[in-house]
């Protein structure tokens, strides 16, 4: 759901950029305080993986493809929505500047949608679901789905304000396609979390490990 420059007037892009910059500043502060020597390689590896997965378009039928976002994954594993803002911002800068995937003036909106909304929805819905289900898979899966679906619907509204999509059709199409893409997002998110839990459980956010130690099932 990378918005290209052509889909948005410059002045609207500027508004999203200003909002995005506030979150980028907070994400930089998170990185400064949280990134220990132990965590830097994990963050860098996750960022490289998010870039590769985001650029990999998977077919979702109806003549449409979709790719992973990874906002929920990063926020859950690193234990903060700002981790998603930090990583997604850097990935989106490289994708936009080097590969024209997402525009320059629209980058603020893309950072808000995928990094900020994706990260916050993914992180808080995961911990909400954990309280109810006490199961990592049943919590991370739906959280990842929501972290794909909600940014897509927000994007449809932004496209309506930009005068690019009609509101109703935009919401229906963006919602339908990303409901399907979200299923892939959910499956991969759960798989990667289990992979890290198996090989390097010490790298997963402490809060998740404590929940697991309390008898939460995988």
């Amino acid at each position: 759901m990378h918005i290209p420059d052509a889909f948005m007037p410059i002045w609207q892009g500027a508004i999203y950029w200003i909002i995005a910059l506030v979150f980028i500043m907070l994400a930089l502060r998170w990185a400064k305080n949280q990134l220990t020597e132990e965590k830097i390689p994990v963050v860098a590896v996750l960022a490289a993986a998010v870039f590769a997965l985001m650029s990999f378009n998977l077919p979702v039928s109806m003549g449409t493809s979709g790719h992973l976002i990874g906002g929920a994954l990063v926020a859950i594993v690193l234990g903060s929505p700002f981790a998603a803002v930090f990583i997604l911002t850097l990935v989106l800068i490289v994708q936009g500047v080097l590969f024209g995937d997402g525009g320059i003036t629209t980058m603020g909106a893309n950072i808000i949608n995928m990094g900020v909304i994706g990260g916050f929805v993914g992180y808080y819905s995961f911990h909400g679901f954990m309280r109810v289900t006490k199961n990592i898979s049943f919590s991370a899966g739906p959280a990842a789905w929501l972290a794909c679906f909600i940014p897509a619907e927000v994007c449809a509204v932004e496209m309506y304000f930009a005068g690019t999509f009609p509101l109703r059709e935009g919401l229906i199409a963006m919602g339908l396609y990303h409901a399907l893409i979200g299923i892939i997002e959910a499956v991969i998110t759960v798989l990667v979390i289990h992979l890290i839990l198996r090989v390097r459980p010490d790298l997963i956010d402490e809060k998740v490990r404590q929940l697991q130690a309390k008898g939460v099932n995988g």
């Binding site: 860098a44 990999f56 449409t64």
Partner: protein, 117 residues
């Protein structure tokens, strides 16, 4: 960095590179969710059927244009899949390097601040 972290780092980056290279060959050529919706908005696609045209014609008034050096993760037709591999590997390693570099810079700034106070 200890042995365990180095191992995670090397295997992690290699996995990311494998995904990046496989993507060049297996990625779907269909438009993504946003582009599909744009094609619907311009009447070139219905909700559930594939698009009939490829050129997205929706445009916002007063928008910005920018030409990226490697559009669509490729180096253009004459390079073929090799161009795609170069683009994806460059992107993956660049993201990795930027994150390492920025994290290191932030940490260094924090350390020097601590020394002053």
């Amino acid at each position: 960095m200890d042995q365990k972290n180095l191992k995670f780092l090397v295997i992690g980056v290699l996995l990311a590179l494998v995904v990046a290279i496989v993507a060049v060959f297996l990625a779907s050529p269909n438009p993504d969710g946003l582009d599909s919706t744009a094609l619907i908005a311009s009447g070139q696609k219905t909700l559930t059927a594939p698009a009939t045209g490829e050129n997205i014609s929706v445009e916002a008034p007063g928008h910005f244009t920018y030409a990226s050096p490697m559009p669509d993760y490729s180096l253009g037709g004459k390079w073929g899949p090799m161009g795609g591999i170069i683009a994806m590997v460059t992107g993956t390693i660049l993201v990795f390097a930027i994150v390492i570099g920025l994290a290191w810079l932030l940490k260094k700034r924090k350390m020097s601040k601590k020394q002053i106070s």
